[in-house]
Amino acid sequence: MTSPLLIRDDEIFLRMNLAERIQHWLLISTFLLLIVTGLPLFFYDFKLFKWLLPSGRAFYIRGIVHRTAAVVMIANLVWHLFYTILTKRGRNNLREMLPKAKDVRDAFELFWHNIGLTRFLYRRGIFTRFFRANPYWLFESSPRYGRYNFIEKFEYWALGWGSLVMIASGFFMWQVEISLRFFPLWVHDIFIIVHGYEAILAFLSVIVWHMYNVHLNPEVFPMSKVWLNGRITGKELRLLHPLEYEKIEAERRRALSEEAL
């Protein structure tokens, strides 16, 4: 019996629905606004920022824009939180997003697979017996991911943690009087340092990690269009998220056999 083709390569799957995409667009725009209006405080000696904010008035407006963007970003996060808890799709996404031991293993395997050092040694005839007995260490294939791979999970939870830190420290910087009612000045100084350096960390991470892994890598260069239309094809699903692909395939097969019964 030939198994019917359950997932065609040109079938369209919705990886990000409209709500998720709007959340992402809001996140992008508020994040960029916060960076642009925040960095001048960190790099106050840069000519570029002096040009961008030529007067005390412009600097004042910068502050208003920064805090407005922060409020919108927080609102967006709250929406995402409710969306995740209250919708079936959201809960499913969250379940897929939970970190597992496999993610650590995946990171380890992907790295050594990419480096290819052990395969190089094997071909040169070094440690041949060890590698014959333990072919795992050759890292012949890259790890197989589910709906979210370790790269995406790392980003998601880093963003969550970063948001908490930024919101807390930012709130106290905004409300200096409240901050200094509860904390001494030296603790308030820590809020300021944390807010600035956490922002730098977030900014660099997004530029380096997110931009490369999602958009700039040779396979999708110049960018993945998922954030715009939310769609991926059956082929992309099979190649990039094989475990999710197999899960969908299994579900369909079960449905078919139930139908046959």
Partner: protein, 416 residues
Amino acid sequence: MRAKTKCFWHIVPAAFALLLTTSPLSPQSNEDCLGCHEDKELKSEAGRSVFVDTVAFVSSSHGQAGISCVDCHADLGRVKEFPHSSPLKLVDCSGCHEASVREFKRSVHFASNQKPEGQPAVDCKDCHGTHEIKGAESFDSTIFPLNLPSTCEKCHLQKAKTEKGLEFIGQYNLSVHFRALEKSGLTMSANCSNCHGAHAIKRADDPEAPVARKNIIKTCGLCHVGIERNYLAGAHGKDYVKGIKDVPVCTDCHSEHNILAPQDLNSTVYATKVAEVCARCHDNVALSRQYGFLTSRLKTYNETFHGTAAKFGETRVANCASCHGFHDIRPASDPASSINPENLPRTCGQCHPGASRRFAEGQVHAMPGSDVVAKYRSSHVVKNIYIIVIGIIIAVMLIFILADFLRRILRKEIHD
């Protein structure tokens, strides 16, 4: 009795004059002189105009006092042939204005840059004018307070270059002092002679000059009495009294000729610029060692929101003076200081309503290495941890990405 003597002294010269005009030996009357010198076209042998404006002379201080031509041009008193030869001798004012001339002879105008025949570079007439001469209280006098700057600038904007250059003197015309004269007609505003003196004018580096470092506080204090008192009560003033030369005096912060109101964008003590003025000394390592104060004040200020915002031109944030005060700046150890821990809630409370003692539990200018309470520097520790963590995370990411990138390129080549 007194009236009688006075009357007598009026009659005697009049009688003399009457006598002398009729005699062939009598000196020339004003009418004799003006007979020729009224002519606007009249020129000397050298071609210079020797016209005398009768109206101006009659209304001048000398004209009003009945002083005759030959009283000043004494060398003409003995001349009998007319037209007389020229040039005449330089008028000597010391006969009447003895004290002024004595002072003038000690001035830089008399001493410096003398002409070959022992004449001063500048003499009385250069500032006071000639026949039309009037007292300082007269509106059209060259030395009337509102006119004095242009009188001095006649030379000092062009030919008479001082050490600081020509622009330096012209800067006065931008100052708040000049504006008060020019725009508002406030004669009590400082003009040249209020600060530099008049007849006895001296170079600024002459210890006797009113603008010498040693005297400048007193000189500015002539008008700014309250500020002089505050300054002398503060840390700078106390050191100034001890004769410490490095201590800032008025002009070090406010500049010299181009003194502007603190609200003026170009003022050296404008809200967003004053920090740089203070930092000239307070970020100077040599001075800090010599007098035992902390440096990096500007650097640590710039790192705060106050300093950063000020750098971008925001005037509503705290600058040095907002917390430390200005003329009567006192050290934190002084109970009257605005930055004494006891007073910080009130000082910070000017902008942060309800500021509590918490504001004092930390240090605004805390920097690594300075001997403050260790926990006050915790933000620096956090900062260093962040720098290390960011470095590691980004480095790991880059290594990971580089490996991935190379693998994907290789794989693509194999597939192609």
